[in-house]
Amino acid sequence: METFDNNVLLLLVILPLIGAGILLAIPGDRHRLVRGIATSFAFINMILSVYVFAYYYFNDEGGMQLTSSLSWLSLPGPWPLGDQGISLALGIDGISAPMILLTGIVMFTGVLISWNIYDRNKDFFILYLLLLSGVFGVFVSLDLFFLFFFYELSVLPMYLLIGMWGSSSDFRTFIRTKEYSAMKLMLFLIAGSVLIWIAILALFIEAGVGSFNIIDIQGSSFSPSFQKVVFAFLAVGFGVLAGLWPFHTWSPDGHVSAPTSVSMVHAGVLMKLGAFGIIRVGMFLLPEGADFWMPTLVILGTINVIYGAISALGQSDLKYVIGYSSVSHMGYVIMGIATLHSLGLSGAVLQMFSHGIMTALFFAVVGIIYDRTHTRDISVLGGLAKRMGVTAALFTIAGLTSIGLPGFSGFVAELLVFLGLFETYPLLGVLGIIGAAITAIYILRLLGKVFFGPLDKQWETQTDGSRVEIFSSAILVGFVILVGLLPFPFLKIIDHGVKDTLAIFIGIG
């Protein structure tokens, strides 16, 4: 058990890579075998992520757990800590533990949703597993090099995933090809990573300890002016991925064009990488810079919430509504982080988890509908609940979570964010609540138009979601309700992480 615990995080990262390697060796026409292998690897990863989460919960010590370190490459030169250079240092704290659970769940449900992909499904699952390996890698890395390595790894497959299996939007007046969206997404994310890369190099040099390990770098003190500049680089760089306004424009396009499971992973997990990066790198290493920029971030986050919600109101494409709702909900995460208050930060982390599950559910349901009707035009869809009862129920649950109805996960998370905001920026807290009200408008409008109301004739013969699709959505629903009714295990873990993070800020500002 000891060795297993030491390597479980490494396994989380390596297993998807091994899975991709095995798939490479399998002939591409064995569709069932290919998806069987992908599913089993995703399943094992989900079990491992549940294990990691439970381990952190029962361990009850807080701080960094399950740490391990493998020396990878030494950098020559006279460094004060010796030539440690780059090591594969892994570990989780109270913030990454829920993120790992989230990734495990979304990964598995995403694979199930992808069962109906038959066109080159081997290539699809290889890229999908690469993507997930990158995501797990970012959450568990304690070394800036590997954090960045996995960050880039999770960007790499996106172009092909969207370009090959995605779908273009073509409405009367609005055309977005998937090639355009894929390129836009890639260039935005790589542009963000340019800033992150520069910031990482700056941190490495300024710390001067000759190590990329976050814990080693944390020990050195940076001048306030350096912190302010570099934190801005990090906030924008990671902010791009988190959908921070005004760098969010790739996100609705990208999410809409992507195939269902990739939208689930991207909106559900990848955007969280951005927020996570701001916490793990920005706040951990540059507290004074963070303190300086947080008022700006909280305003940008508010704009995210309001702007995303208003944009969602005006969309005619079902998936774009969800895409913009992601932008809006990520605003709460950014606002929560920017409060630098224990309530707000806990809310932000819980919102990351809750939104991840919820938006995955949303995209899964939209995928179920699109697969059958081959349109996402809201004005054409109508009364689907009469033929697709279960799907409608699933969508309703996701919608109610999104609105923040008590009993679902969104309520707890948003409540905490608002409480944190009222402690720090009460006015913006009010604006945040207005955002939630707008959310209610567009969600109820969707429910009314697409699912309820008179059944359009052309949808008379629609069938409900398949068993696999319903099953995978049900897993997500389970977690939405679990967190809504029993948030305390999650909050207990998150509390450890928040305390550790905010401890850095004591005596600043």
């Binding site: 890579l17 591409g28 990878w72 490459l73 030494s74 950098l75 020559p76 030169g77 006279p78 080159r120 290539d123 090099f145 960045f148 390595f149 996995f150 880039e152 790894l153 960007v155 790499l156 172009y159 092909l160 370009g163 090959m164 090639e179 390129m183 890639m186 260039l187 790589i190 542009a191 340019v194 890369w197 520069i198 190099l201 700056a202 490495f204 040099i205």
Partner: protein, 508 residues
């Protein structure tokens, strides 16, 4: 001083191999001419093993330091031998289909390998110049070899004219240095430069001329004009050879010359190299954005990569505000240059081999003609896409690790802003690599017939793929080797000046 000729046995052997191929050419039946490639390859492998066994950890000099045998030259020698083997094996199909004189083709390639090895070994400017000319003359012929093809002729003519010009510049620079310093040996130049405080204008002019001459050879901006036309017109395997081999050889020489000879004058040449690096990175990657022909695109991309290598060269030393030169972190930069050369080398080999294979069966080199290639040749397209991702600098491939290492080296020497420019330039490059990947994977093919990939090519591509991934995820063994090489070129700077001055006196 007795010269130990055993030390240059590999060079004798390789000369012998070249003559062997040229004479076998007279006797071999025309339908079996590709056997010469196998002979050449077997010979190169033999020589590689022989050099590794006989020269491992040997440090010596020949002819009063004209040729240097050390880990540095051994690393580059091995790289050139392996590279030559890959180039020869990947040309077989192309030569069969498109070229007339296989004997000359393989023979001259072997000669150019000899030239590259000499460049890595030379410890003196004239030896280096002669080696460089041997390489250039070989390449002039190889670029022109497709002689009924107008583009190949144009390419060759441009290459010869501008190559001759650059050689003239280089030679004039060398004569300037010799005239003013009285020596062309690296260690003596180092000694004289460290004894003088200020560089005389004449020496500076000589230095700039040498930088320009070498700049032409590696196609650094603003000396890059010949490269795209030449790359486009040359036979594709030769384009690969130009892009990888001649650049690596030139950098083997540049790195040794700048470190062993010019380090005391680093404050004079560093700004020049910084300017060249910035221009090369930005211009190369910007112009690549609009290319339609894959060979031109890869040509500009390779110009961009020369910019990154120049960035490494600029970070070979740091000068603090009091003007004191520090070499404390120079190992990082010199490792990084060699590592990036190798990572870039194997990645580009894979890319060019894919282009060659596609060209062999479709006869087209336009990027748009790659549409839907993933359906027609899945494995080939995968390797091609991997190599493009690696060139763009994405993990888990060699390009990411080597770029990260290189940029870390640059920022460790205080050039963080320049590393920032380089990172931004690689963002630009992302776009044009993705354009190619889009054709390969996303566009529908105009013609569904599968492309026949010869077994040998599959084997080569798999080897390169493994290499790309290996360097991407576990480069430590290679970098430890390179570390020895860096040690040998950086030690001179710490050798006591007394021994040098004695040496110098006996030489005069």
């Amino acid at each position: 001083m007795v010269n130990n000729f055993a030390l240059i046995t590999p060079e004798f052997l390789i000369t012998g191999l070249a003559f062997l191929i040229l004479s076998v050419d007279f006797f071999i039946r025309s339908d079996r001419q590709h056997f010469m490639a196998y002979i050449a390859c077997a010979g190169l492998i033999g020589i590689l093993i022989f050099s590794l066994v006989s020269l491992w950890n040997v440090e010596d000099k020949l002819y009063n330091g004209l040729l240097v045998i050390d880990s540095y030259s051994l690393v580059f020698k091995s790289f050139f031998l392996i590279l030559g083997g890959f180039i020869i094996l990947s040309s077989i199909e192309y030569v069969k289909r498109h070229l007339e004189h296989p004997g000359e083709y393989y023979g001259i390639i072997v000669f150019t390998i000899l030239a590259m090895m000499l460049m890595a070994m030379s410890g003196e400017l004239l030896t280096a110049y002669i080696a460089l000319e041997l390489l250039s003359f070989g390449l002039y012929v190889l670029v022109n070899l497709d002689r009924y093809n107008a583009k190949s002729n144009e390419a060759g003519t441009k290459y010869i004219l501008l190559g001759a010009l650059s050689s003239a510049l280089l030679l004039y620079g060398i004569s300037q240095i010799f005239g003013l310093l009285g020596t062309t040996r690296f260690d003596e130049i180092h000694y004289i430069l460290s004894a003088t405080n200020e560089l005389s204008p004449g020496v500076l002019v000589g230095l700039i001329l040498i930088i320009s001459g070498l700049g032409f050879k590696v196609a650094a901006v603003p000396f890059h004009m010949w490269a795209p036309d030449t790359y486009e017109g040359a036979p594709t395997p030769i384009t690969a050879y130009l892009a990888i081999g001649s650049k690596a050889a030139a950098f083997a020489l540049i790195l040794r010359f700048f470190t062993e000879a010019l380090m005391p004058a680093v404050d004079d040449w560093q700004p020049i190299i910084i300017i060249i690096a910035t221009l090369t990175m930005v211009v190369g990657n910007l112009i690549a954005l609009v290319q339609k022909n894959i060979k031109r695109l890869l040509a500009y991309s390779s110009i961009g990569h020369v910019g990154y290598l120049m960035l490494g060269l600029a970070s070979m030393a740091s000068i603090n505000s009091e003007g004191v030169i520090s070499l404390a972190k120079s190992h990082l930069a010199s490792n990084a240059i060699m590592f990036h050369l190798m990572a870039y080398g194997i990645t580009n080999l894979a890319a060019f081999l894919s282009v060659t294979t596609i060209y062999n069966s479709t006869g087209k080199e336009n990027i748009s003609s790659f549409a839907g290639m993933a359906k027609r040749a899945p494995f080939l397209s995968m390797v091609f896409a991997v190599s493009l991702f690696s060139l763009a600098g994405l993990p888990i491939f060699a390009g990411f690790t080597s770029k990260f290492y290189l940029f870390t080296a640059a920022s460790a020497q205080g050039l963080l802003w320049l590393a920032g420019v380089a990172i931004f330039a690689s963002l630009l490059s992302m776009y044009y690599y993705l354009i190619v990947i889009r054709q390969l994977y996303i566009e529908a093919p105009s013609d569904e017939t599968p492309i026949q990939v010869p077994k040998l090519t599959v084997a080569l591509l798999s080897t390169l793929l493994l290499g790309i991934v290996w360097l991407g995820i576990y480069p430590a063994p290679l970098i430890n080797l390179l570390q020895h090489a860096s040690d040998t070129i950086l030690t001179l700077n710490s050798v006591s000046q007394l021994t040098l001055s004695l040496d110098y006196a006996t030489f005069r």
